[in-house]
């Protein structure tokens, strides 16, 4: 029964003549996934093995495909934001930010300074939470079982912060076109300061747990080496390209929001192996935390939180409850939706896993003509067959872990 539900995806397992004749060097085909705990979702790799060495790896995906791009085309612009939560569900605010920035670029909306600072705070918190998920599960896959208990403890604090501001932990739907419609709740920033205070010591604990762990070191050092040329040729972005020594970070290369006002560095690796990517992501968490700290200091305590741009931006919730004109505006905005001008933009932001790109073509109506979502997990995963070739079977788990995929993002 279960097998009959799956078969039509890449099940064409070919046995060559060579394999049939020569029994000693016969390749064994091993099916890993789609229900495998260390594929982080429903991802499947068909592996051709010679002994324990991988000759060929064929990724098969699409089990979680929901056709979000078709859904994007059939919803009005503000209705699309919740869909982006469900692509990379481990870092929803980053996706919300990517889409909102693309729509704002298309419409030419200027976001107030205070909202920009707060967006940076949310994006960096979400980056830390995504990296914590990655660190816990990556270590769990490789054999450091206790790691996940500690990283999830801190991740829970971040999700609680999202919950208190936006009302949801994972599918946050936390940003709006033009800024935020709700203000920061009382005490939220103090809670964030508390997190900023305790997180460095907790991160030092992670390092203590892993840095002297021989299993961790043996299974990450020298595994999955990517050269700087390969990283660019395979369109890798995010920590994957930086682990190979290419200092490409969109926040530095084309600063958006207030990243150019913050003092931070782009960590890069030297050898391009799994261990270097671990170091890069660990340092990124430190940098993110320092960015949050700086934002807390620099953020204006008062001021507009939402752009006043009547055509494209909804009025603040409170205003639309007390003010007739704003209520009408809110009604029209909700029923008809904003109508961006005709044109096309591609806006890329730096997500925790790589470049989150939204390519929007508008035909002047309230529904986008086409939105293409450039999913970092999907593009980064392309290098897996190359990395797996010649590696040991057990390394596949480390390789999938180091690419840091979320299957909602791969399959969309």
């Amino acid at each position: 029964m279960t097998s009959s539900l799956i078969p039509s995806r890449g099940t064409e397992i070919e046995i060559t003549e060579e394999q049939q004749v020569d029994d000693v060097h016969r390749l064994i085909t091993l099916n890993m996934g789609p229900q495998h705990p260390s594929t982080h979702g429903v991802f499947r790799v068909v592996l051709d093995l010679e002994g324990e060495v991988i000759v060929n790896a064929r990724p098969v995906m699409g089990y979680l495909h929901r056709g979000v791009e078709k859904l994007f085309e059939n919803h009005r612009y503000p209705q699309i934001i919740p869909w982006t939560d469900r692509t990379d569900y481990a870092a929803a605010p980053n996706n919300n930010l990517g889409l909102c920035m693309a729509i704002e670029k298309l419409c030419g909306v200027e976001v107030p300074e205070r909202a920009e600072y707060f967006r940076v705070i949310l994006a960096e918190l979400s980056r830390i939470s995504s990296h914590l998920l990655w660190l816990g599960t990556h270590a769990l896959d490789i054999g450091a079982l206790s790691m996940v208990l500690y990283t999830f403890r801190e991740r829970e604090m971040i999700l609680d912060l999202f919950d208190k501001f936006g009302g949801a932990r994972l599918t946050t739907n936390i940003m709006e076109i033009g800024g935020f419609t709700r203000d920061i709740p009382d005490g939220w920033l103090d809670e964030l300061r508390e997190f900023v205070k305790i997180f460095p010591s907790r991160q030092a604990d992670y390092v203590d747990l892993l840095s002297a762990n021989p299993i961790w070191l043996n299974r990450t050092k020298g595994i999955g080496i990517i050269t700087a040329e390969d990283a660019q040729a395979y369109s890798l972005t995010g920590p994957m390209i930086r682990g190979s020594g290419v200092a490409y970070d969109i926040r530095k290369a084309r600063p958006y929001l207030v990243y150019d006002r913050l003092d931070w560095e782009v960590p890069i690796g030297e050898n391009g192996d799994t261990y270097d990517r671990y170091l890069v992501r660990m340092e990124e968490m430190r940098q993110s935390l320092s960015m949050i700290e700086q934002c807390l200091d620099q953020m204006p305590s008062d001021g507009p939180f939402l752009a006043r741009e009547s055509n494209y931006v909804q009025p603040p919730h409170l205003a639309s409850q007390y003010n007739a004109e704003d209520m009408q505006r809110h009604f029209v905005w909700t029923i008809k939706g904003p109508r961006p001008p005709r044109g096309e933009v591609y806006v890329a932001t730096e997500g925790p896993k790589g470049e989150i790109g939204f390519y929007i073509i508008s035909d002047g109506s309230s529904v986008p003509y086409r939105i293409h979502y450039r999913a970092p997990s999907f593009v980064n995963l392309q290098i897996l067959p190359k990395l797996a070739q010649g590696a040991m079977l057990a390394d596949v788990v480390a390789l999938i872990g180091t690419i840091d995929i979320v299957l909602g993002d791969v399959d969309r």
Partner: protein
């Protein structure tokens, strides 16, 4: 479809000038919207232009950031599809968007031999639109099942797709439930 900057004194961006010099026929048109440059390339020249843009020290677009298809059915007559390439140069920190038109069931040169990162993105464009990429090493569906009956992101396919066909496919897979009456 885009808003063109008006006036005869429209400055040609340097990359367009260089492309016109090197490939006289290649640049069909270009436009700038919100500061982003889009260059439409004649499909016959696409491969040579991409190789030039990647290898020329002046440009070095070594990273194919994104590749996607667009169905232009409701916006123009011919050709039916556009393939959109977002290039990035790490060395010069520059972005460039290329476009090439493709007819229905027509084909365009694959850029996978130039940027291996184009592999899955071209497969996705094939999967969603039925755009055929010449020279692609392994052009199969990637997100949908291999024997799926339609190209879902085409504008003439409804959001819910062809449900009769989908049900037929499900029953072939041995799924006992039927979704439609």
């Amino acid at each position: 479809m885009q808003e063109q900057p008006s006036g005869p004194a429209r400055q040609e961006p340097s990359v367009v000038v260089a492309l016109r010099e090197r490939f006289p026929e290649a640049v069909e048109e270009f436009n700038i919207y919100r500061g982003q440059l889009t260059v439409r390339i004649r499909p016959a020249d696409l491969y040579a232009v991409c190789v030039y843009l990647r290898d020329e020290p002046e440009w070095r677009f070594t990273l194919l950031a994104d590749l996607c298809g667009v169905d232009m059915l409701r916006l123009r007559d011919q050709p039916r599809f556009d393939v959109v390439y977002q290039l990035y140069s790490v060395e010069h920190n520059r972005q460039l968007r290329l476009k090439a038109g493709v007819d229905e069931w027509g084909s365009v040169d694959s850029v996978t031999p130039i940027w291996p990162g184009g592999d899955w993105q071209e497969r996705e464009a094939y999967d969603m639109f039925g755009i055929i990429f010449d020279g692609h090493p392994d052009l199969r569906r990637i997100l949908l099942p291999d024997d799926w009956h339609e190209f879902p992101l085409r504008k003439d396919v409804a959001q819910e797709g062809n449900r009769l066909e989908a049900d037929r496919w499900l029953s072939q897979q041995g799924v006992p439930i039927r979704l439609t009456e």
